[in-house]
Amino acid sequence: MTAKDALTERYQDLLSIYLKAKTETTLYKGQQFSRKLLEQQISPEDLVSLHIQVMDELFPNMSDEMRDSFDFLLEAMIGYGFAYREHQSLRDKQQQLESEIEVAASMQQTLLLSDVPQFDELDIGVVSVPAKKMNGDYYNFVKSGNSLSIAVADIIGKGIPAALCMSMIKYAMDSLPDEQMKPHLLLENLNRVVEQNVHSNMFITMFHGVYEPESHKFFYAGAGHEPGFIYNAKEDSFFDLIAKGLVLGVSRTTTYHPYEKEIQIGDMVILLSDGVTECRTSKGFIERDEIVSLIRKYMHLPAQQIVENVFQELDRLQEFELRDDFTLIILKRLV
C-alpha cells in the first residue's frame, strides 16, 4: 500500500464514521489528520481530489450536479495549491540561508582566531564567548619585534553586518606597517578605514595597546571602549584603565591621545568588552567593583585560570544566558 493509498483509506474511514454519528471526537481526529497531510506535503487540491474519490466510493449514486460541483471546487483550489507550493519553496530557501549563516559563523571564528603569543615576561589569559552565533567582539594579539600588540574591539550592531565589519577591521590591522603600531596612530588609521567603508549607523569601539618587554612600558589608546583595569601589586589596588577617544567611524579627522604606563612585577593589565560589565543579574547590572572583587578572588592563579573562573562565575550569576558577547583578557607581568 502506498502512502497515498493509506491516506485515502484513513480519510474514508474518518469521513464515513463522521457521516454516521457526527461527534466532536471524529472532528478532532479530522483535525489531527490534517496535520498528517501537511507532514506529507499534501497540497490543498490533492485533498479535494481525495475527498472526491472517497465520496464517489461512499455514494456511487451521487447526483451529477454534486459530482460536477466537486470538479469546480478542485479547480478553485488550484490557486491555494500554488500558494502552498510557493510557501514550501520559500521555506526551503530559508533553511538553506540559515545553514549558510551557520557556515559563515564558523568561518568567522576560524578567521578571527588569534593565537596567544608566548613571552617570558608575561602571563596572558583570554576568554571570548559569543552570546549568539556570530561574535561581535574581537581581540587580536600580534608579536611584532619584541613587543606585544593587543587589540580588543566591540562592534555596536549585531549579526552578519557586524561580522563582515569585523573581518574588514582584521585585514585593515594586518595590512598596517609595523611602524604604525603605536596605538593612537593605529586607531587614527583604522578610524579612517571605518569611516570610509562602514555604514554610518555602525560604530566600533576599540582599545589598542603595545607592551614593550625591555622597558616594561604599556602604550595604549582607546576609541570609546569600555575601560579596563590596572592592578598595582605594590599598592595592592585596582585602577580604571582610562583611554579617552571617540568611537571609530564617526569623523574622518578624529585623533587619539597616546597613553603610557609602567608595569611593575606582579602588576596586571585587564581588558574587557562591555559584555563583561553589562552582565545582568537578578539584582541589575553588575558593578565594576564586583568584577574587581571576582578578579581579586582568583588572582593568585595563572592568568588563563583567572579569566576562566571569572567568566564561569559571571555566567552562573546570569543563569547561563549570555546577553552580550563576552571578552576578558589579562596580562600579568611575571619578571
Binding site: I78, G81, R85
Partner: protein, 133 residues
C-alpha cells in the same frame, strides 16, 4: 512525434480555448482530475503572460511518448519583447501580473519539466512537460 495542436493567443478568450485544448488532450492521455487542473492552470498562466506582455503568440500542446513514458508538453511561443532577466522572473515573489501570484516559478512547480529561452526584442519560448504516472 505526434502532431501538435496550437491555439493563437490574442485576447483573453483565447486563453480559455488554450485551456480547453489542453484539458481535452490531458483527459485523452488519461491524466487524473488533479493533474488536469494543474496542466490547465499552467496553460492559463503561460497564455496570460503572452496576452499581457507579448500581445500575441501561441500555445501548442503535444502528447509525448518517450520509450513508453507518456506525457504532455505545453509550448508557449511569442515574438514579444523577450525577458531581460530570466533569473529574476524565475524567483518567487517576482510576479507582476497579479494572476495566481506565483508566475513562472509556480508553473515550473506544477509541471515536471520546464525550460525557457528568451531573446530581448525577438521573443520567448517556454516549454513545460507533465508525465503520466
Amino acid at each position: 512525434m505526434d502532431i501538435q495542436s496550437c491555439v493563437e493567443v490574442r485576447n483573453e478568450w483565447d486563453i480559455v480555448s488554450a485551456r480547453q485544448l489542453g484539458r481535452n488532450m490531458a483527459k485523452e492521455l488519461g491524466f487524473g482530475n488533479v493533474d488536469q487542473a494543474r496542466i490547465t492552470t499552467a496553460i492559463s498562466e503561460l497564455a496570460r503572460n503572452i496576452y499581457l506582455y507579448a500581445g500575441r503568440g501561441k500555445i501548442c500542446i503535444e502528447p509525448i511518448d518517450q520509450l513508453g513514458k507518456k506525457g504532455l508538453r505545453i509550448i508557449a511561443l511569442d515574438n514579444g519583447p523577450g525577458i531581460r532577466e530570466i533569473r529574476k522572473v524565475m524567483e518567487d515573489g517576482y510576479t507582476t501580473s497579479g494572476g495566481l501570484g506565483a508566475g513562472l516559478p509556480g508553473v515550473k512547480r506544477l509541471m515536471d519539466e520546464f525550460s525557457i529561452e528568451s531573446t530581448v526584442d525577438v521573443g520567448t519560448e517556454i516549454s513545460a512537460t507533465k508525465w503520466l504516472r
